[in-house]
Subunit: 326 residues, 2 copies
């Protein structure tokens, strides 16, 4: 038996194809009798409506695209898992694009939005200068990323997080504290961690020293930069890393140099994912509210899709997890 | 100005809508003159073809669904990142579904395949008895999961991995070795790690003891089960955990009980993701070839989509990473 088609349903129910389509999409006025006849025929034939045809008819796909550097990173993995959870509750399915190091790929995924394959996007990529973002009023929400004036940003309170980390290091007695962050020209909310670090250091008449590493480079290349810290500043007492995986690389170098943490070196990370907390609970780190950020992003995107007003920024609270590295 | 439509292109190019559609989808014979006229009009109007209309016309969406328990788990996060990479290279985009603990959600995602929203699926979920899998000849590939006879499985060599782990523990002098794995009634290739453990133990005239925990339960519930190991077997010398996150929980209990690893307890994990290797390089573990598994799954799925013959199982090699926990 061949796969039943819309016209088979129409024939059996003795109505037009348009009527079948209207029943399946719940559009326009239809008598109860017509609805029952069509549903009966659908059941009898075991007809599966082609969802793509329905998408075309309704001019929406109920798909949301998520653009992040890579779900291999536990922060983006946990964020994506939470976003998928909340979007699924709202009736959306999720298309993912991992655009690490690849602006062309990011642009390609953005085109999916423009050609209506997805209804909206949630974006947290690190690439810059993608021209598609300059269209106004796109149903886009950014997480931890500045796109253009028009696109709302969901972020945790990076300034407060940076302040918590540095003040904790100061309380533990550290004075020569070095910070690691992404390149300053990349306008991300995470730069506020650096601003907080520099402000707190200045308040205490201490010299801030920040090393910049591109998030997208390999661990091998990051290790090269991080080893320089210990060569150029052999008297470093503490490091505040802008993410937990960078803190893990610092730990690796500390082992190489036989520095004991926390005796010889204090260390604070950032992100506090469940994976890293579970595998390395000793790490003192700033915990981002990943689940809450996902929930908020989905709510704001829905407002955007329904043309409701949204704020330009939503700041969510962070907390310090005190382990044994500081 | 309103968004240009297909009929605007047809009007400007002075051809029929069908002709425009055939040019855009590269279907049927068309003169160079017609193609040029249409492309010129598309350019002039800045027309974006509706991809959903094209999907309907071509009866394919170029979307592949990935069904895994959760990308919050680093093994599935890294697997998904690699699958997305290879699928993107072949012109596919990726729809994800995280079905942890939720057979209904898994069934819902499978329906997406049956209603043609996705062209194929790569599945590694843990739920059982989903009736949709009983359709024959679906374009599905399983990773580390037994579905039905008809669906090819990509797995790393779990038997060899289990053997490597247990033999290493024996060489280190352990005799009372306990294993943790998923429920035996769940027919997963990972059960072969248990089979290898039991075979090697029997070969050495030792008693195998396996604790079963459901992958989907919370860490709190897992900890309850794992604490029982130490109550019921206070003389345990070594634990072979079936994944690295479970090994991290064992480590947590060892700290609670002031057992030093490896002096008082030997520990071997499984999976060897980059995240865990980076954050906890001391863990001795069996490394699954995640990138290679992803690459193979994409190739086999493509064969399946093109109705080419596939093997029922593909076994990929594992390796032991020796850290300091054993």
């Amino acid at each position: 038996m061949s796969v039943p088609k819309l016209e088979d349903v129409a024939k059996l129910a003795q109505v037009s194809k348009t009527t079948v389509s209207r029943v399946l999409n719940r559009r326009g006025y239809l008598s109860k009798e017509t609805i029952d006849k069509v549903n009966q025929a659908v059941k009898e034939l075991n007809y599966h409506p082609n969802v793509v045809a329905r998408q075309l008819y309704n001019n929406k796909t109920d798909l949301i695209g998520l653009l992040f550097p890579t779900v291999a990173n536990p922060f983006f993995g946990e964020l994506t898992a939470n976003l998928e959870h909340y979007l699924y509750q709202k009736g959306y399915k999720v298309l993912i694009g991992n655009s690490i190091n690849d602006p062309q790929k990011e642009a390609d995924y953005l085109d999916q939005l423009l050609v209506k394959q997805v209804d909206g996007l949630i974006v947290g990529t690190h690439n810059q200068g993608i021209s598609q973002y300059h269209n106004d009023n796109l149903p886009i929400v950014a997480i931890d990323r500045v796109m253009n004036q028009d696109i709302p940003i969901i972020a945790s309170d990076n300034y407060a997080g940076g302040k918590l980390a540095v003040e904790h290091l100061l309380v533990q007695g550290a004075r020569k504290i070095i910070h690691i962050n992404g390149p300053q020209e990349l306008a991300t909310p995470a730069q506020k961690r650096r601003a907080a670090y520099e402000d707190v250091m200045h308040d205490h008449h201490l010299q801030p020293i920040t090393y910049e590493v591109d998030f997208n480079i390999s661990n091998t290349d990051k290790l090269k930069v991080f080893r320089q810290i210990f060569v150029e500043h052999p008297d470093v007492e503490a490091i505040f890393a802008s993410n937990d995986l960078d803190a893990a690389l610092i730990m690796q170098i500390a082992r190489e140099r036989r520095l004991r943490v926390p005796r010889d070196l204090l260390l604070v990370g950032y992100d506090g994912t469940q994976t890293v907390q579970s595998v390395w609970p000793q790490l003192t780190t700033v915990i981002q509210p990943i689940e809450f950020m996902a929930q908020k992003a989905v709510t704001v995107l829905q407002n955007r899709l329904h043309n409701q007003a949204t704020q330009s920024e939503y700041l969510l609270p962070v907390q310090l997890h005190v382990g044994t590295t500081c």
